[in-house]
Every structure is written in C-alpha cells, then in structure tokens.
C-alpha cells in the first residue's frame, strides 16, 4: 500500500506518523535540523525559505511547548503564522473539522500543523486538502507525535552519536503515549538494537513487543546498563477508570530517582517530552540534574520542526 505521506517520487508530502517512513527520510530530517541549529546561533536567526507562505497552527487540544516551538520554527523560516485555538472557537459552535479546514484553505493556507485528541485527525485533513498544501501531525490522540519522536532521536544522536549499540529505556505510561509510539518507530527504523519499555501492566499496551521492544515491569531489570532513559508523562487526563492505585504508588515503583538512575550507565542521559509531573514520573533532583537533557530537547525541537517544514514546503 502506498504511504499517504509520500509523493509519487518518494519525498515527504505530509508528516503524519514515523511508522513506515524510510530511514533515509528520517536521516534527511536530522541532517537538515543540524544545519538549522547553526542558524539559531546567528545574529539574524531567520532564513527566507518559507517567505510568503502561511502556516496555520490548528490546535484542538491545549499545548504550550509544541505550539510555541512550531510557531518559532515557522517564523524563523520567514513564514506567516496564524495560531488557532480551536478548543475555544468554531468547533464549539458546531463546525466540522473539514469545514474549518476548507475555510482556512480559502484563506490561502500552505501548511497546517494539527493537534487533535482523536487519532487520525491529521490523516483526515491530509486526505482532504489540495495537492500543494502540507499537513504536519503535532499529536493525534494516542496515535502519533512524529516531530516529538524526531526531536527525541535528534537529541539521542547529538549526545550518543550513533544508534548502533545503544540501549534506550522508555519508562511509564506507554499506553496513552503517542510520544512513545513515535519514538519507538524512529529508534527501530534508525537501527537501535535494544529498545525497552518499562511500566506496570496496566499502562503498557497489549502487543507492544510487536513494535520490536522488550517489555519490563521492574525498573532494576529494565534500566540496567542503558544509555538513554526516556521518562513519559503520566497522562491522568486520558485515563478512563482506575489503572493505577495512586500517583504516590507509581512514583515508588516507576518514578525516576537518583537511586534508580544509578542502574543505568554512568553517562546515561535522561529525557522527558514535557510537561513534567515532578515527584510522579521523575524526581526533581534527576530532572534538574547533570544527566538531564530535557531543556536541550526543547531547543533541538525548534530546529527539527524547521527541518520538517522546509522539507515539506520544498516537495
């Protein structure tokens, strides 16, 4: 089956999910992002690639970091950026998703950045828009958050250079996490030999092994000797019914403390997609400690989003 994200010539038309994307496409994004890192250190932090283009940030779900970094990325590419907080707009008046998109397309949108609580929302928009319009999924339900997955592998590559020989542990609420899914696909596509997920049975999706990861319920076993620890946010707002005894109970077993981090390699890095629940999935002394690369992740995220937008706009 044809990948709906790719053009006839195999180049990226939309970025909807990392699943099924060729390794070369991921590497092209990472290499391009590295060049944009240099741009952000100059006196003028802008390049003219998207001059005259309009990027619509379509957020049906609240977000600060992702929306802001997409906005900065688009502005550094010289695009005009329009932010729509739909949660507080037309959809509450009954307009359908595709009617909203049609109206914005009539305002000459060139690119949509979409965040939605329903899995598949960005796919739906991508299959609906005109051929010259590009769609980036900025998080759809539990499904995918591809630019987060890309910035995570960018971060890992920055600190660890190569994916061959790496052990990466993803800890916590994998069940509700689109970040975890996108990261797992990115890591396996880039040839990471050892990807582990660690969490209680109730917060790991059934069949997660089929993604090419090993499953652990014990932190001591899961963290042993790993190079990268990715802690996930406990997504209370997505939980229906009791999946956990309590947040305190979760922290005791799965919260990343200095003692648990000591099980990983001495030079292991700690990542978190944000926003953090301090004292639930991660201890403050780890989040603010010397092994934490949580804030560099945010900075890298701008360059990665610039890379994705400029690659899409040029295809």
């Amino acid at each position: 089956m044809r990948n709906p994200q790719l053009n006839g010539d195999g180049s990226l038309q939309h970025l909807l999910t990392i699943e099924g994307l060729p390794r070369e496409v991921l590497l092209h994004v990472l290499e391009t992002a590295a060049s944009f890192m240099g741009v952000t250190e100059r006196e003028v932090k802008k390049v003219p690639l998207l001059r005259g283009k309009s990027v619509f940030n379509l957020f049906f779900e609240p977000s600060t970091r992702t929306r802001t970094t997409f906005e900065i990325a688009a502005k550094r590419l010289s695009a005009d950026v329009i932010n729509l907080n739909i949660a507080a707009s037309s959809s509450t008046k009954g307009e359908t998703l595709l009617d909203t998109v049609d109206n914005l397309s009539a305002m000459h949108a060139d690119m949509f950045v979409v965040r939605h609580s329903s899995s598949g929302a960005a796919h739906l928009i991508a299959s609906h828009v005109a051929p010259h319009v590009h769609v980036i999924n900025a998080g759809d339900g539990r499904h995918a958050h591809p630019t987060q997955g890309l910035l995570d592998v960018y971060t890992i590559r920055h600190y660890k250079k190569d994916f061959a020989g790496l052990s990466v542990a993803i800890v916590g609420d994998v069940l509700h996490s689109r970040v975890a899914r996108s990261l797992i696909h990115a890591l396996t596509t880039l040839g990471t030999p050892d990807v582990r997920v660690i969490g209680p049975r109730t917060l790991l999706p059934s069949g997660v092994e089929q993604l090419g990861v090993s499953v652990h319920h014990d932190m001591r076993e899961g963290l042993a000797g790993c190079d990268v620890v990715v802690t996930l946010r406990l997504q209370n707002e997505r939980m229906k019914g009791p999946l956990l005894p309590s947040a305190q109970e979760f922290f005791k077993s799965y919260g990343l403390t200095p003692a648990k981090l000591a099980l990983a390699k001495p030079d292991a890095i700690v990542m978190h997609p944000g926003p953090m629940n301090r004292g639930i999935e991660i201890d403050s002394s780890v989040a603010d400690g010397p092994r934490s690369v949580i804030l560099p992740q945010v900075t890298f995220g701008i360059a990665v989003r610039m890379a994705v937008m400029s690659i899409l706009a040029g295809n």
Partner: protein, 168 residues
Amino acid sequence: MKLPDAEALCRELAGKLRAGVTDSTGLVGIRTGGAWLAERLHRELGLATPLGTLDISFYRDDFASVGLHRQVKPSQVPFDVNDRHIVVVDDVLYTGRTVRAAMNELFDYGRPGKIELAALVDRGERQLPIAAQYVGAALSVPAGKLLRLERDERGHFTLRLSDAKSAA
C-alpha cells in the same frame, strides 16, 4: 572540450589574491567546490583569520521549484563579519545566483565592511549584476553543461564537465 589544469589555475588565483588580502580578511568558501578551494587558498596564503564555509541551501532562489537540497551541511562563519573585508570563494562563477545567495546569508551574520569575490573559473553568462575581483581563468562552456571542481583523496583538484541533468 579541453579543460584547463585546475591546479595551475589555483596557483594563478592564489597569486592574484595575495595582493588583495590582509591578516584580517575573512575567506568564505561556498560548499562544496568553493569550500575546498577556500581551504587551499587559506592555507597557501597563511591567513590569520579562521576559514569560513557557507552552505547556501537555505537561501537558494529556486527552492520553490527544486525543494531543499538533499545534503545540507551547517554553515560556519567563525569570525565577526561586522566591518570585515570578506572574500567569497567559489569554484565556478556562472549565473551569479549562488553568489547572491551567499551574500544574503553573510548579511544575516552581520554587516560586512566589504565583500569581494574569487572564482577559479568564470564561465560568463551572468543573470545578475555580479563580478569577480579575482579569477583563475575565463572559460566559455556550452549552456546546459555543468562545470565543477573535483577533489580526489590526495586533495588534487581537477575540473569536470558533465550534463547538467546528471549533476546534484
């Protein structure tokens, strides 16, 4: 057609450039051929200011039709460009569009005092009002052909002519 010896042209260009540069001159090569050439000139002239390299992919005027280059590398300008004498170096000067893109990029680092241009070969056919102050040789090349510098593993330069379609 017979192409001139790139090594001889490089010596010629270095000789001409020697009279125009000082220790504070910033040499900036345009990736890929111009960067190799600038590296060589920088070493032969013994310039004190560190060498700069530009990848003009983010400034190309044909982005809308050809998209982003497959292999973008970071630009590096390891000196303050403000008020500085800068010599932009490229292997082949042709339409002038690459040089325009390079100048636009340089201005995003600051306001240079003076920009000059050095090219190994000037093949004419300019589409913009741009001229080189230092040229190895002028050469007439049929339209539709791509002329570029190549460097082998020993660092030896040769000029190569190919059909534009097969080039990157």
